[in-house]
């Protein structure tokens, strides 16, 4: 009997249930989708553990966040449900007048919750399963591969997790409903409709003052934010900006309605037209009562938009150029200069033979070994494991960076005759850090070998010329200025004219494009420096794997074995570092203290990209969903509570078109006010970040911002429309009664 009543109730109030249902549906679908990422890996060729790891790690992080997300969704369900109860207080009152026990009424509510809950759970899971199929293709695109053997993926783990989560949410909901229905007094239930909330009316002058203060506080927040540059999050300016932003936004929403009313009522020509006075007052009373939720919605929106855009931007910074940054199968590096760090000295050599002297003093054996091999890492490694080397390494080339004492970037900048450019370089914080360091030079021969290995044409320069290599965005303007100037540089005695071309050759495998203002000099110049006692500051041995039928991952293991043979575990001075696969080897200043392989770097960057992208999507979408749902529920309750007002308007002779237009204006303003402020905040934050980071790393921020706006428009738009049409249908019986 009660069940029948519940079913009939739902059928009758389908529209009321719509927001609740849609929210649950999306919630369940997102929850399932992002918890099923791990199961996608069956679609890809996962013969290597490293790649499988990527999925596991991503899934782990997702699961961690799912806890938070579940709480958010739970809150949302309770919140939307409160609206349903509110709307039907009178109905419950009638049941009780007819002699139903409060517990029976609660049971009707429970049945209704269950029916809608189960329906949205089933449909949500279906949608989730479909969405996760779509997501696999996105994953494939990120991987840079297409899915060859497509199969339908169903994650029973994600399914169970979703099920458990939502069963818990429904259980809490059921308890909540029972308690709240039981707690209402009959009289309040029956008189629910006639109780007219007294809208707080604020003093106009107070609102005016507070509004101006709020704008000032927000301006202060933006100014602090811009000054802090958001580089260090523990910067007191960043903290001040955060607090000012929160306080400013709260004051803004507190005073917004009063301010607008004060303004509009003075502009009678604008105000006294059609239903405007009503529409404006309606919005104002809603904003005044719900300013705290509007504030919360605004902050959440700001957070999700920023997280999303910045997250996606960061992905590009970290992994955007993974392919280009790793042109070689592998690079073994040796950072001899770091011995100076050990000694507590500045990393700036004053004499040509300073590095050699330090190494000789601190690691005499290593120094002797290096000299014996003429600092050729290939020779040393080849000797250690000749057969493995033969089998694994196809071609190789070493790039030795020599430091030129007394030739700092700053001194080169001074030599360029362009004051404006000099000023811009000097004022760039990122360059300023390194401006007094000595520049690095490499020999033309080594440079051309490196170019040849990645299929680039060799370069020719004259005996009294040098050329610049750069592929980092941070140092691009510096390099361009110097190249343009045709300045003459003194490289340990030789006067070399800078050629106008800039080469973008990546000199070693790395997480990102990392050739920063390197100077290519004629071979004789380097030979002279060596003769004067210089040893390489850093050396990179770039290798291409032989065509030996092994996979990249297997070759990585072989390479690690070669390195391990050259320098047994524990022999190192800078501690152990893991290189390829599982083999750990002792690291030292020479011959090898780190190995990067293209396969490893690209897999890692893929993993990072997947994780950040999905996390940004997950958090961004759920927050968007929550805020939109909260606004929708609030606006719906407002319409329901205002039915008498609309009936009045209708009697006064407002037709459906006028009333619907007013309704649309209300919904639009109510949705767009918090969004507008959040977009302002986000724009400021993203602008600061893009100035500091993205510009520096040469990443276009437009794409993630565009994506964020598409998602925002779709979700927000959907809720806005649902709210509008549901509100309309609430008023339909009123507007149709004639």
């Amino acid at each position: 009997m009660l069940l029948k009543l519940a079913v009939r109730n739902i059928r009758r109030s389908v529209r009321d249930y719509l927001i609740y249902f849609v929210t649950l549906l999306f919630g369940v679908a997102l929850f399932y989708t992002f918890n099923s990422i791990e199961s996608q890996q069956v679609l890809f060729d996962m013969e290597e553990t490293a790649s499988a790891n990527v999925f596991e790690v991503t899934q782990y992080v997702m699961n961690m966040f799912s806890g938070v997300i579940a709480c958010v969704l739970g809150f949302l369900v309770l919140y939307s449900n409160r609206f349903l109860i509110r709307r039907r207080k009178r109905e419950f009152g009638t049941y009780e007048v007819l002699g139903m026990m409060p517990s029976q009424v609660a049971r009707i509510m429970l049945y209704e919750t269950l029916i809608v809950g189960v329906a949205s759970l089933v449909l949500g899971l279906l949608l989730g399963v479909l969405l996760s199929q779509g997501l696999s293709f996105v994953t494939g695109a990120m991987f840079g591969t297409t899915i060859k053997n497509y199969q339908f993926v169903f994650s029973s783990e994600a399914f169970m997790l979703t099920l458990i989560c939502f069963v818990i949410i429904f259980a809490v909901l059921a308890v909540f409903n029972t308690v709240s229905v039981g707690r209402y007094r009959l009289i309040t239930l029956l008189q629910a409709e006639s109780q007219n909330e007294k809208a707080p009316v604020r003093n106009q002058w107070a609102c005016l003052v507070v509004f101006i203060v709020s704008i000032a506080v927000l301006a202060f927040a933006y100014q602090q934010l811009i000054e802090s540059g958001m580089v260090m999050l523990d910067d007191p300016r960043f903290l001040r900006a955060t607090v000012a932003m929160l306080v400013g936004s709260l004051l803004f929403f507190w005073s917004l309605a009063g301010f607008v009313i004060a303004l509009l009522t003075r502009l009678r020509g604008v105000y006294l037209r059609g239903l405007r006075p009503f529409t404006v007052r309606q919005i104002a009373s809603k904003v005044n009562t719900a300013f705290v939720s509007l504030w919360a919605v605004c902050v959440l929106l700001f957070f999700s938009i920023t997280t999303f855009s910045v997250g996606m931007g960061l992905v590009e910074v970290f992994v955007g150029d993974a392919q280009k940054a790793n042109p070689y199968s592998a690079t073994a590096s040796s950072n001899i200069w770091s011995v100076d760090l050990q000694k507590g000295k500045a990393s700036r050599a004053m004499e040509l033979d300073e590095r050699a002297q330090t190494l000789k003093e601190m690691q005499p054996a290593l120094y002797e070994d290096g000299v014996a091999h003429d600092w050729s890492m290939a020779q040393k490694l080849q000797q250690a494991a000749p057969e493995l080397w033969e089998q694994t390494i196809g071609s190789y080339g070493q790039v030795n960076n020599y430091e030129v004492p007394g030739l700092s970037m700053g001194s080169i900048v001074d030599r360029v005759d362009d004051p404006e450019w000099q000023k811009s370089i000097r004022e760039n914080d990122t360059i300023a850090v390194a401006i007094e360091q000595n520049v690095q030079v490499i020999s033309l021969e080594e440079f051309n070998t490196a170019r040849e290995m990645q299929g680039q044409q060799p370069v020719a320069i004259g005996a009294d010329e040098c050329a610049l290599v750069n592929n980092m965005a941070i140092t691009q303007s510096l390099t361009e200025g110097v190249a343009r100037s045709g300045a003459v540089l003194n490289v340990s005695g030789a006067d070399l004219t800078v050629r106008p071309e800039i080469y973008d050759t990546q000199l070693y495998d790395s997480a990102m494009l990392s050739t920063a203002f390197v100077i290519v000099v004629p071979d004789e110049v380097v030979a002279n420096m060596k003769a004067a006692g210089a040893i390489p500051n850093t050396s990179s041995l770039n290798m291409m794997y032989a065509d030996n039928g092994l996979t990249d991952a297997e070759n990585d293991v072989q390479l690690a074995r070669i390195v391990a043979a050259a320098q047994p575990v524990g022999s190192g001075a800078t501690g152990d570092r893991s290189a390829a696969a599982d083999i750990r080897y002792g690291s030292t200043y020479w011959p090898v203290n780190s190995v990067y392989t293209a396969h490893e770097m690209i897999t890692q960057s893929f993993g990072l990209r997947m994780m950040i992208t999905y996390l940004a999507l997950y958090i961004g979408l759920v927050f968007l969903l929550s805020t939109a749902a909260i606004l929708a529920v609030q606006q719906m309750s407002e319409t329901v509570d205002s039915q008498n007002r609309y009936r009045m308007l209708w009697r006064l002779g407002c037709d459906a078109r006028m009333i619907n237009r007013s309704l649309l204006a209300q919904v639009l303003v109510y949705f767009l006010a918090p969004l507008g402020l959040a977009v302002c905040h986000s724009a400021c934050a993203i602008w600061v970040l893009s100035n500091v980071m993205f510009d520096a790393w040469g990443v276009p921020v437009l794409a993630p911002i565009l994506m964020a706006s598409v998602f925002t428009s779709v979700i927000y738009g959907a809720y806005l429309l649902i709210t509008y049409f549901a509100s309309r249908s609430v008023l339909k019986p009123i507007l149709r009664s004639a």
Partner: protein, 274 residues
């Protein structure tokens, strides 16, 4: 009655209308509720005319159909059959949008529960009657202040309904009904929610509207005292006009006594029937 007819005729001649044309003409109006099995006829063929400048009260016991009649004239409800002509236009044949336009252009409402919008100030509540008619904003403040001055509520224009007394609210509502110069003011138990002092003020105000501003008023009430302020009282019973009395040259007290007689007769007959 004579004096009323004279004033009414005078105005009509000035306006260029035919002197005899009623502003409201209700003809054989029937209204039935219910479905196939049980039909209740709230109005069973009501007919009457209201001349311009008249103040007509409609009385009758609960269930006599007086509110249904008002709702039908107000175009809030639809008749089952019959015609209602306002200023010569048959409102029973109008579409929904036309009706809305008709309501805002031709009618003014005063309800028992005031029906002011609680989020709007007194000024805005009155102005709403004009803004929805797309009256030029420049003209609105003046009109609102004039009518508020006439009805003695100028000092509450800046207040919200919850800051006003019942009488003030009702007068604001009357001002809203009047401000747009409607052809016909419909009042549904306007004193129903007021204490006796406020009721008297309210009714005197309706009298002022009628006599000084020339408003045509149709008022539904069950209160004989309220009805005694009108020019003519129609008694409704079981969906039909049962009786009609005109005030003519009677004083208000005499008219009140006359109304009480009719009600007494109605009650007696009801007892007799029981």
């Amino acid at each position: 009655m004579a004096e009323i007819t004279v004033t009414a005729n005078m105005r009509e001649i000035e306006g260029g209308f035919q002197p005899t044309m009623p502003i409201l003409s209700v003809r054989q109006v029937e209204k039935a509720f219910g479905g196939r099995d049980s039909i209740t006829r709230a109005l069973a063929g009501v007919s009457f005319d209201v001349a311009p400048g008249e103040f007509v009260a409609i009385m009758g016991p609960s269930g006599s159909g007086k509110t249904t009649l008002l709702n039908c004239v107000a175009t809030i409800d639809k008749v089952t059959s019959g015609q209602i002509l306002v200023d010569g236009h048959d409102i029973t044949q109008m579409g929904r949008r036309q009706l809305a336009k008709f309501r805002r252009d031709e009618l003014g409402f005063i309800f028992q529960d005031f029906n002011l919008l609680d989020t709007l100030t007194g000024f805005e509540n009155i102005a709403l009657g004009l803004t929805i008619k797309r009256v030029s904003p420049a003209l609105i403040p003046r009109k609102v202040e004039d009518i508020a001055a006439t009805l003695g509520v100028k000092d509450v224009l800046r207040k919200y309904p919850y800051q006003m007394s019942g009488g003030q609210k009702q007068r604001i509502a009357a001002a809203r009904a009047m401000v747009s110069d409607p052809k016909l003011i419909l009042a549904d138990e306007p004193t129903g929610a007021l204490d006796s002092r406020s009721s008297a003020v309210m009714l005197e105000m309706l009298e002022v509207l009628n006599e000084n501003l020339g408003a045509t008023i149709m008022m539904v009430t069950h209160d004989s005292f309220a009805a005694s302020f009108s020019n003519r009282v129609l008694f409704l019973r079981d969906g039909l006009v049962f009786n009609e009395i005109r005030r003519g040259t009677m004083s208000r007290e005499q008219f009140f006594a006359r109304i009480m007689e009719v009600i007494g007769f109605l009650g007696g007959e009801a007892e007799h029937a029981a």
